[in-house]
């Protein structure tokens, strides 16, 4: 193998994988090991495969992914904290032929934006909501999130989340699955290649669903926050499997797309 040159490796016929043009060349601002980058990539791959770049409008939240528009090579709007589903509602109603999605973290979607999330889902807005749940406020430095597990440490629950004092974690995905306006509700992860494939399929299905005009497709991605959890990326993935998945089990919760 040692005698193969770089030029030979780079020959087109040897190409097995290429970054989608729908991702910009800007280096991701996410911590190494974080699930945001992978999720960005598979959303953009789905849009490329569906050939809907020119018809898609994305909405970035407030949080670690506030700069999602730096990396996603599509038209995007940046919303006030928690308000992405309100923006998406108006965009889709005013331009029903477009594909509209929000990309939101747990603080954004399940705390400050609870009302916007629930009402957009209940009205059955014909949009995609991608919900990254890492159980913590990453951007602001690791504070307790609405999805922080009982007993889990954060900078505002330094001795662990005491549910008697701090309330319970919110299973937003199960909650929106109860609403008549959601047609597809699923929970996935991106911590292994096989899970990445499953999540990509789920996101593809969510975007395909917009053609049905029947309501919200809601994809939760349970993710790690190795920096916020104060672990290595490998440790954080293991911890996620052992602690997050039992509380936030992976799989489809509602499939009502017929």
């Amino acid at each position: 193998m040692a005698n193969i040159t770089k030029e030979e490796i780079r020959k087109p016929e040897n190409l097995v994988y290429k970054k989608t043009d729908l991702l910009t060349d800007k280096a991701l601002s996410y911590c190494p090991g974080c699930g945001h980058g992978t999720t960005h990539r598979i959303i953009m791959e789905v849009l490329e495969e569906m050939d809907i770049q020119d018809k898609t409008i994305g909405i970035a939240p407030v949080g670690c992914s506030v700069l999602a528009y730096d990396f996603m090579n599509i038209d995007m709007q940046q919303a006030a904290h928690g308000r992405a589903p309100a923006l998406a509602t108006a965009i889709k109603r005013l331009m029903p032929e477009k594909f509209v999605f929000t990309y939101q973290g747990d603080g954004d979607l399940a705390a400050i934006g609870t009302a916007e999330t629930i009402h957009a889902c209940n009205r059955g807005e014909n949009i995609v909501i991608i919900f990254i749940n890492n159980g913590i406020y990453g951007m602001t430095g690791g504070q307790m999130a609405p999805t922080t597990l009982p007993g889990m440490k954060s900078s505002t629950s330094p001795y662990g989340r005491d549910t008697h004092l701090m309330g319970n974690p919110l299973k937003m995905t199960e909650l929106v699955a109860q609403l008549p306006g959601t047609i597809y509700v699923t929970r996935q992860s991106v911590h292994t290649p096989s899970n990445v494939r499953k999540t990509k399929k789920a996101i593809r299905k969510a975007f395909e669903n917009q053609k049905l005009n029947k309501g919200v497709s809601f994809v939760e991605v349970v993710s790690n926050c190795n920096s916020g959890w104060k672990m290595t990326p490998v440790q954080s993935n293991k911890w996620m499997e052992e602690n997050m998945f039992p509380f936030y089990p992976l799989g489809d919760i509602k499939v009502n797309t017929d």
Partner: protein, 354 residues
């Protein structure tokens, strides 16, 4: 028509693409009228009752960022809830129309008319250095006219425009002449008129991003400098006011909206008494007719501002006048509309005899 209804009908006719609102007295007729009119069938306009004022203003953000003509309406407590969204809209330089049918505050206050949201409307209201263009109607006709004018100014300057009305103008019925229906802009026209809008990234252009975020302080300072330049340009180009009996006036009243109506009557009463009174009615509150007031200050003996508040606009009048002549405020609060006689008495007590 009622002022609120005239505004709603005029918005449809101005080619509005979307209305997003939440009920609150005394402006609920706006959405009621729109829903009854089925604008979706008339023009294709979207009308949606949101879950809150917060959601409604953010729907406006989303629609405005697509280059659409979108609006919302509310009354004082609801407008307070919209301040976050308005700040983002101003920061992202999005055009939109916001109607505030003011009621008495603070807090839940009263449902009766007031003008106590002047500071909030003209000085920012939300966080950060920004300004809205503020139009103050004093008749049902102007409620209708300012819907179209508001959209025009909003798109000209990529800036939120507020129509600052009050419970009296919103609820009163007057004859009104409406503009003809203008067609809504097509997608092609929107792409041409607002090339910055998020309409979907095509191969032949860079992606469009609507945001108010600049993590680089130098860039954010430059953004602020550019905003201030825009506001200065608006001050130079868009100041609007009306002068009534000011040619020979020795005593001036400055009043807008409902207060201007009753002050006009007060001017007549004063003139009947042989006192040369005049009225300056600001039509734009931002930009404020500072120069016009300053000129009049050179030749009048005193100025009374009449507002249905504790005295808010009076500060801008004092800034325009300096200390050249006496400036006093007269007003009623909490939903009380002063009578012209009270204004005449205030002029005697505070200015002529004071």
């Amino acid at each position: 028509m009622k002022g609120n209804e005239a505004f709603a009908e005029a918005a449809i006719r101005a080619g509005a693409d979307g209305y997003f609102g939440y009920p609150i007295t005394p402006q609920s007729e706006v959405m009621e009228y729109l829903m009854a009119e089925k604008p979706h069938e008339r023009t294709g306009m979207v009308v949606l009752q949101a879950e809150s004022e917060v959601a409604a203003i953010n729907m406006v953000y989303g629609g405005a960022a697509c280059g659409k003509r979108v609006l919302t309406s509310s009354s004082s407590p609801g407008i307070s809830l919209k301040q976050e969204g308005i700040s983002y809209i101003a920061g992202a330089e999005l055009p939109c129309l916001i109607l505030n049918v003011v009621r008495g505050g603070p807090g839940l206050g009263t449902i009766q008319p007031s003008q106590s949201d002047y500071f909030q409307s003209t000085k920012g209201g939300g966080h950060g250095d920004y300004r809205m263009i503020v139009l103050a109607p004093s008749s049902v006709q102007e409620m209708a006219d300012f819907a179209g004018l508001g959209f025009e100014l909003a798109f000209k300057y990529r800036n939120p425009v507020m129509v600052l009305s009050d419970g009296a103008i919103g609820q009163m019925m007057e004859k009104v002449e409406l503009e003809e229906q203008r067609p809504r802009f097509t997608e092609e026209e929107i792409i041409k008129n607002t090339p910055w809008a998020t309409t979907g990234k095509t191969k032949n252009r860079e992606r469009n991003i609507i945001t108010s975020l600049n993590l680089d302080s130098a860039k954010q300072e430059q953004h602020n400098i550019d905003l201030q330049k825009k506001y200065k340009l608006i001050q130079e180009k868009e100041t609007r006011f009306e002068l009534i009996n000011c040619e020979d006036a020795e005593y001036l009243i400055v009043a807008y909206g409902t207060s201007a109506r009753l002050s006009q009557k007060a001017v007549d009463l004063l003139r009947n008494q042989g006192i040369k009174a005049g009225l300056l009615r600001p039509i734009t509150l931002f930009p404020f007719p500072t120069e016009a007031i300053s000129k009049l200050a050179d030749r009048v003996k005193g100025i009374l501002t009449v507002e249905m508040s504790a005295g808010q606009m009076v500060e801008d009048v004092k800034l325009a006048v300096g200390c050249r002549v006496k400036v006093e405020h007269f007003g009623r609060m909490g939903g009380i509309i002063p009578s012209p006689t009270e204004v005449v008495e205030a002029m005697h007590k505070k200015i002529i005899g004071g």
